[in-house]
């Protein structure tokens, strides 16, 4: 039981780290702000979910799980809103936004 928990928890944390790495590469790889934002929003939601889930399984205690759930709720509430606001600023201030992202 202990071993299974450790293995599952570590695997989840590592998966979360992989997601973080992918979004990090994406932030450098993409050229335009909105694409970069898309990549960085990935680690806000999926990455933190995986890491928190892994930590909850590793610690296996009610209070730790509750605290992690609070942190996750905070991150999920604020992260997308921050992304949304930053995107809005870009759309409002960039004159050539229509050329940068062609909407069909």
């Amino acid at each position: 039981m202990m071993l299974a928990r450790a293995v599952v928890g570590s695997v989840l944390v590592c998966l979360g780290l992989v997601v973080f790495c992918i979004s990090l590469i994406g932030v450098y790889r993409f050229r335009y702000v909105l694409n970069r934002m898309h990549a960085s929003a990935l680690c806000d939601t999926l990455g933190s979910l995986l890491v928190m889930l892994g930590l909850a399984i590793l610690f296996w205690s009610v209070w730790v799980t509750l605290k992690l759930a609070c942190i996750l709720a905070f991150l999920w509430l604020t992260g997308p809103v921050a992304t949304h606001r930053t995107t809005k600023v870009e759309v409002l201030t960039d004159e050539y936004v229509m050329e940068e992202c062609e909407v069909e």
């Binding site: 590469i25 790889r29 509430l77 949304h84 409002l92």
Partner: protein, 301 residues
């Protein structure tokens, strides 16, 4: 084989850096050729190649000198944990052993920064106060230094803000605001029992205020935090802090009986002056943070 790997690595690095395939990859030689040269006489004396060599030699010498100096200093440092070290004195022991008994806070850090080293923290609060005052002097916009251009700019900003649809931000802030402020107050009031205290709690409160201003605008914040309230809070907090510290220093230095007891360590009303001072420092920091933001973005509170 190795060259192949190198080439692949460079391609991968270029890909991560966002270089498209049709773009030419800038080699280090080209970069070097494109950089500005030393002006004037150096040019006349040195050829281009020698100039580059001079650069390299200089940078290498600088690196070596700095590294050597630092390493030499390390050689003369006292051994870690040695008995004769200047840090190995009775002060640290006293903080740890008698801190709870003498001051009463279970958070030893707050014992040290607010009581044992009260002078220092009081100076820091004064620095914060001074900084906010200077920012106010420099950035404040009132009828005397507002030009027509400023007014037009402000009107444009207000128009953009009124057109903006901030439903997402507002609903989330409505949900989070009480939690953030409550957490800030908790950190303030528990500064003597758990990690936290005036500076961190004040930072949380200030960040919450800035968030609120972002979502609902300056007018809504002015309902509870106008410039008048700001002045009252800031000056009152600093005065309270100053007079409390004077009293503590006076009674402590003259061995007089102080009316401020230590209480039972671990209770919320314990540790004498630490909790009220934490609250004062927190208010000071929160006001400073919010004022910085408001003055930099709008020029007024």
């Amino acid at each position: 084989m190795t060259k192949n790997i190198k080439e692949q690595w460079r391609q991968f690095a270029a890909w991560v850096n966002g270089v498209e395939n049709d773009e030419p990859v800038v080699t280090p030689e080209e970069k070097r050729a494109a950089r500005p040269h030393l002006p004037g006489f150096v040019h006349r004396v040195l050829s281009e190649k020698n100039e580059l060599r001079l650069y390299h030699a200089f940078s290498a010498v600088m690196c070596l000198v700095f590294t050597g100096t630092l390493l030499l200093t390390v050689l003369f440092l006292p051994t870690f944990g040695g008995a004769g070290n200047p840090t190995e004195n009775e002060v640290m022991e006293r903080y740890v052993e008698k801190g709870i008994e003498e001051v009463g806070a279970t958070n030893l850090i707050s014992n040290i920064i607010l009581v044992y080293r009260g002078f220092d923290t009081f100076g820091e609060s004064c620095v914060l106060f001074l900084a906010a005052t200077c920012v106010m002097i420099l950035l404040r916009k009132d009828e005397k230094n507002t030009t027509a251009y400023d007014l037009a700019e402000r009107a444009e900003d207000a128009e953009i803000e009124s057109e903006e649809n901030t439903t997402v931000l507002r609903s989330v802030v409505r949900m989070l605001m009480p939690v953030i402020l409550l957490f800030g107050v908790y950190v303030l009031l528990n500064g003597h029992l758990s990690p936290g205290g005036g500076f961190s709690g004040g930072a949380i409160l200030g960040a919450g205020l800035i968030l609120f201003e972002n979502a609902f605008g300056l007018e809504k914040v002015r309902r509870f935090m106008s410039e008048h309230v700001y002045h009252i809070i800031k000056v009152a907090a600093l005065y309270f802090y100053g007079f409390t510290m004077i009293y503590v220093f006076f009674t402590g230095a003259n061995d007089l009986h102080s009316i401020i007891g230590t209480g039972i360590p671990g209770m919320i009303f314990s540790a004498g002056v630490i909790m009220p001072i934490n609250v004062a420092v927190g208010l000071e920091v929160a006001c400073t943070m919010y004022a910085f933001y408001a003055f930099f973005s709008k020029g007024e509170l």
